[in-house]
Every structure is written in C-alpha cells, then in structure tokens.
Symmetry: C2
Subunit: 321 residues, 2 copies
C-alpha cells in the first residue's frame, strides 16, 4: 500500500536536485546514495542536474594501496581550501561483491571538515555493477559539479580494469607511486600509466624515489606518444611538501586541455560512457519487460542445462521485442 | 570487394567449431581469438559448442602478484598430466586499455608442453570490455570444455572487481596467499575471499606462513556463513609440495558441489552471466541500428554539450526502436 503523502522516486529526485542546487548538503548526500543505487530518484535528479554541470575541474587520483592516496587527497583538500576553492571528493571503494561493504572507506577524515560547507567527502562502493562503476562515478561527479564545487576529486585504487576506467574520464588523471612498492605492483599498473596526465612520487623522502623516477621515465618512453608529456613530480603528502607544485601542474594541465580541445574530447568520452551504460540498461529493461518473466526463466534454465545456447536464447527473447 | 572463396564469419565459426571438436588445436586457438574479439565467428561456433560443454571441472585460481599463481598452475598442470587428465589453462591478463597489450602473459610456459596435446595454455587479454571480461572468459571456458579438456583452469590476478567476477563463476575457486605480501594487499582481496572455496598459502616454507593462516582464519570467521567451509592448505609450488593434497581438496569440493546442488547453481550463475552480457550487447546493437548514426551522434554531442541529459537522450533513441 502506498500513501498519498509519500512522493514517488521521480518527484523526490526533482526535489532533491533543487535542494542540492540550493546548497543543501544533506539533500546532496541522499542524492548520491540514489545515484549509487541507480534509482528513479537519481534519474530524475540527473535529468535536471546534467545540464547545470560542466564548471568543475575533475581530478582523478589513483595509485596502489600504500602509495598514500588518502593522505595526498587530504593535503590537496587543505591546500585548495586555503585558496578558497570548494572541493568534493569521491573515494571509490572496490567493495565486496557479496556483502557490499566498503573496505577502504575513510569516513574518519570527513570529521576534519564536518563544519566546512566548502568540502564534501563521499565514499562510494562498486556495488557489483560490472562495468557500470565508471558510469556511476561519472554521474556522481556530474551531481557534485552541478552542486557548484570548484574541484571534484575522484580517488580510486589503481589495480584493476574497472579502476582504470573510473579515472580515465576525469579531466586530469594523477597517478601516484611510492618507493618500495615492489616490481609486480608496478607492472599491474601499466594500464593506468597510459591514462596518466601527471605522475606523483609520494613519500619522496624515502629511499628509492630516484629508482621510481627512473622506472616511470622508462615506462613513459614505452608508452604511446602523446601531445601532453606527463610530468613526474615529488611529494611528501604527510608534510604537505610538493602539494602546491602539484596543484600548479594540475592547473597547467587544465590550461593545456582548454588550449588543445582536450576538454571537449573529455566531455565526449564521458558522454559516450554515460550514454552507452544507460542505453544498455534501458534496452535490456525493455527487452525483459517485453519477454516477461516466464520466458526469461526458460531461457536461463535452457542455457544452464545446455539445451539452448546463449545466442539462440537472446535471439528468441529479442524476437518478441 | 569480397571473393567467393572467403567464407563469412558464421561459416568459418562452424568450421572451426567442428575442427576444434575433432581435436584440431590450431582451430581451437583461432576460435579463442574470435571469442576474445567477440566476432560473428565466435558466435556461430558457440552456438554449436555450448550444448557440448559441461563435462570439465573448472578451477579458478587467483591471488595477488607475487603469490606464485603461475608456478602453482604449472605444478597443478604437471600433477594432472601425470594422472592422465587433459588440462586447458586460461590466464586472464589485466591488459592495457590503450595498447591492448598483455602484461602478465606467460607464453614461455607453453613451450614446456608444446608437444603435449593434453595441455592447452592461453593468455587472454581484457580488451577493455568492461564487465564483459567474466562473460568472455566463461565463453572461452565453454569452448575448451566442449573441446574435451577434463580440467579447465582460469588464472587471474585477484586485485579488482572484474577479476573477482572472472573467478566467481568457476566450479572451484582457489585463492592464493603468500607470506610477506603486506597488509593492505590483503584488505583489497576481501572481496575475493568471499568467493573462495579453497585457500592456499603458497611459499609456505617462508617465515610468516603461520601469520597468514591466522589472518585467513580470522577473515573466514568474519565472512558470511556458508555450507562449505573453505579449507586452508599449504604449498611450496616451486618444489611441487602440497600440490597432490590441493588436487585432492579440489576433487573433494567437486564431490561436495555435486552432492549439494552446487553444480546446478554454478551453471545457473554462468548462464545468467552469459545471458545478461549477450542480451545487453544485442539490445544495444539493435537500438543503435534502428536509431541510425546521425541520431546517435546528435545524442552524444548533446550530452557532451550539456544541452541534453543522458536519460532524455536514451529515451529519444529508444522511442524510435
């Protein structure tokens, strides 16, 4: 039984979007929960918010566990706030596929900024939406962007295919290294190396920073030639060292993007990501609705029993659509 | 211009499928290339091969870089061959999204078995098909299964969401640990812990094996209760130590699956994975074909320019379908 007082998802989405635009942080938080869960609330909010977005500089920060991502993000936050820039952070957690629990969630650091309306920090779980993680993250970025944050930082652990996709669509992708992480860890990240706009060697006061720099320069020389040559910077995020220089380079990259059609290209990439993801969802939803549960169940069971191959099963489902 | 002599993808797929069933290893290799690239050749081959599969025991092996996966897989290979069992290995490489190059590919080990028709080893790249990695791997498994291998081993690095999905649908999932890998690496793998049917502490002759065992038992106690309690085994794969016991436990798990409806459940999970992936592909292909390139381009550009939100764009595309 539904009550007349409970607004449906769509009405709630519009209300939350308006509230978020007006600066209501609790509404913003609820909206991001909806985005993460891909509810009708999120859909109607994004219909309103997408056209309002596009003003923020979106920075992706990725690196292996232990490279000091969270510490660097905190240092960036403080530096940006000192300059009066508002900042939202989305920390993408590679969450458990079964419990859905966030593993690397760092809600503690929200407390440092709890009373500062110019800061918004959010942990976001993957929730098992294979391939949809990047699209969901981008939707969350668009919401924060529309809500008026000057800078949106997307922080993710850089060790998997999905994680590469998440940062590949940010304006400026920062890849974090640290001395003493082990060779094989480095190798895994080769995928993410190629989407890097800036390299940062964090914990640069430790032994081995020169070695990491040589390796990075070596990997850069192996990578495809790009118009933008990613600089290699050094930070000691724990002490805030090198953070101002990093921000200067981020800004420099932003200038370069604007001057070289890069922002439009990034906007196209994001548009494609969102469009493909939503088109797949909507097409599948429609095909399933037209087929009905009994025929879907028969198709699944036929594939499982190997009386039906998956292509024929799909043909049969779509032939009714 | 096409020549009459060149068979189309569908005819080639049927021919390759028949050749693979007849034991032609080169045809099998070409078929797997087609599966990886999702061509029409793969589609028509799988239409023939899917109903012939289902006989193999599919073992997933995953673990962080440095845990000794490749060495353990090689040890398993030798042990299984000594028992007269034919074995296919799919090593899933988290490949670069840009160059598509395989990073962890270990084609060297194929040479050890180059003259043995009972062994087939294949490196498979992710190829940037977000979320489709698990479905593509499962299709490759079905092809090898239909080709008659007794055991199919899927080896993947266990550090990302996609990688968890890849091994989650195997019959028996083996999660590899090793002493001295670092705490944060452990944390990342919590997702994969929950899909583990067997834990193996490799390099168990090193200091710290007891510590790893305590951590594993601790994580097990935190995980959801399951009917099957994953045993914790120890191996020194380099010397083949513990490998026979591991195989005995894999077989034990297979018996347990059969006795508890587990094989049917796994078959359903795989069927769902394949069905959902192919249904999404086919639905999107159909919607795009109906919309035509000009309207697709206008939708994309509208989203990028923020004159159109992505949901409205999708609505408009599908309204013509």
């Amino acid at each position: 039984m539904t009550t007349a007082a409970a607004p449906d998802g769509h009405a709630r989405g519009a209300a939350l979007a308006e509230a978020a635009l007006a600066g209501d942080r609790r509404a913003l938080a609820r909206l991001l929960t909806a985005v993460e869960s891909r509810t009708p609330t999120a859909e109607s909010a994004i219909r309103i918010l997408h056209p309002r977005a596009g003003g923020a500089h979106v920075i992706g920060i990725t690196g292996a566990p232990g490279s000091g991502k969270s510490t660097l993000v905190n240092a960036l936050l403080r530096e940006l706030r000192a300059r009066g820039r508002s900042v939202a952070v989305i920390a993408v957690d590679p969450s458990s596929p079964i419990t859905g629990g966030a593993i690397l969630g760092d809600r503690v650091r929200m407390q440092e900024h709890a009373t500062d309306d110019g800061v918004f920090i959010r942990s976001m779980a993957a929730r098992g939406h294979a391939g949809g993680l990047a699209a969901t993250t981008d939707a969350a970025v668009a919401v924060l962007d529309a809500a008026g944050f000057d800078v949106v930082i997307v922080e993710t652990v850089g060790t998997g295919q999905s994680e590469v996709e998440v940062v590949a669509t940010t304006d400026t992708t920062v890849v974090l290294e640290a001395p003493g992480m082990g060779d094989e860890i480095q190798a895994i990240k080769a995928g993410i190396m190629e989407v890097a706009d800036l390299f940062v060697i964090n914990k640069a006061d430790r032994d081995g920073a020169d070695q990491v720099e040589r390796e990075l320069e070596g990997m850069k020389s192996l990578a495809m030639a790009r118009d933008w040559d990613p600089p290699v910077l050094r930070t000691v995020a724990q002490q805030g060292a090198g953070v101002a220089e990093l921000l200067a380079q981020v800004r420099e990259h932003g200038h370069w993007l604007r001057g070289h059609g890069g922002l439009a290209r990034k906007a196209r990439e994001r548009a494609r990501l969102r469009f493909e993801s939503l088109l797949a969802e909507a097409s599948v939803r429609r095909a399933k609705a037209l087929a009905g549960p009994a025929r879907l169940e028969a198709a699944l069971q036929g594939i499982a029993d190997r009386t039906l191959d998956p292509y024929t099963a799909v043909d049969e489902i779509l032939s009714q659509a």
